[in-house]
Subunit: 135 residues, 4 copies
């Protein structure tokens, strides 16, 4: 995956996402990352909802975030989302959150995921999805 | 139910619950109401989790809120929660959110609930729970 | 305002907005309403951020919601937002949340707002904004 | 700081904090960490609100989380919070989230903070607070 597909997702900061420091509360970037993942899959023609309906779940095993600059209410943000690593039983996404207008990087991060069954056991990512990821 | 049981639940406002107006974001009062309901049931010796494990769910059919005064980060709030009306297939909770120190009322509201099955059909509240509610 | 401007805003349900009942948590509709308001103002060429920068704030004095049907992760929702009433010191928005694909109504509601100054006193909506609202 | 003060904060998981996987949504652990910090300061006799009233803010520069086990609605959690490192212009907190009943570790993590002024410039933590932190 030398040149991974990068999904770009743009939206406005919601008022509810700000806090008393008058900037986006830092926990919301994990929500933005998650929406980046959802949109990554949509842009490639599928839905993560289908994955769960087939009885598989991607849980978050680890996450890391670096906050460089704050974002404000009504600001347009762009999330860049790509898959950085795929293993048999999991994968790692990376993210950049940019100010949509200036392309300045505000936050970077990653989430590492494991594939589990409905009963909670770690399992291999189904072949059909692994092929799709790698394509 | 002329003199209903009133649960009082006290906690601090979390930073994440504030918004750029530097007060608690208005949507969080529905979360506080819900935590009031959870604690109401705990204080009466049960858990809403048991209700769901038995295959029943209380969904929210209607909600109303009146905001009189704002709350700030780290402020201690007390939620007063009681059941205002019980019907065969639903019930209504009422709430007061007070400043814990002064007992000043900040927000009042209600939520009206319907009992549904796992498949989503409206159904009677199980007798055992209705007896418990009315006792 | 016999034929008010109605803003339509469409987005996907985020995973973080669901709860253990596997539908959108009811408090999030107040966040959707708020985003409806933000987009209403954007669609009419301004930003609520400007309103606050001029030293005025619209606080929520009252809210009501009726929940008819649930929404699920990744579902596309459309929020219809309009101003139902304007007074000298406040205004009321109304909302419909629709399934974007079927136009079925999921949730309806209103929020009543008061205009306050930075110091928290209720005040008249600035003339320039009242003219803009009514136009 | 060979034997740092460790604050323990115990509370129930709120329904709104769960997601469609029927466990606590992973972003909420940053909110739990934050409440751990708030309570750490309260347990040592002060409030972070005072820090901001003096014109200083601790922003989050970096965060990391490892998720070992999931938590469910109404489960009692204990957050253990301590200061792992203090520098002139920032500090690092570490956290463990435990199942309150079994003391099993569910999530671990850290947040690294910088001290800024109201205008956003990184600055030294005021001496009085640094002395308090180190005591």
């Amino acid at each position: 995956m030398s040149t991974p597909f990068v999904a770009e997702t743009t939206f406005h900061v919601r008022y509810a996402e700000t806090d008393a420091q008058q900037v986006v509360h830092h926990a919301n970037y994990l929500v933005y990352f998650e929406e980046g993942r959802s949109d990554y899959i949509r842009q490639r023609g599928r839905s993560y909802a289908d994955f769960e309906q087939q009885g598989f779940f991607l849980i978050v095993a680890e996450a890391g975030l670096r906050y460089a600059r704050a974002a404000r209410y009504d600001q347009r943000l762009t999330i860049r989302t790509w898959i950085a690593e795929v293993k048999s039983r999991g994968l790692t996404y990376q993210y950049q959150v940019l100010a949509a207008d200036t392309r300045e990087i505000l936050v970077t991060g990653f989430t590492r995921h494991l594939c589990i069954t409905r009963s909670g056991q770690v399992t291999r990512i189904p072949d059909e999805w692994r092929t799709w990821i790698g394509s």
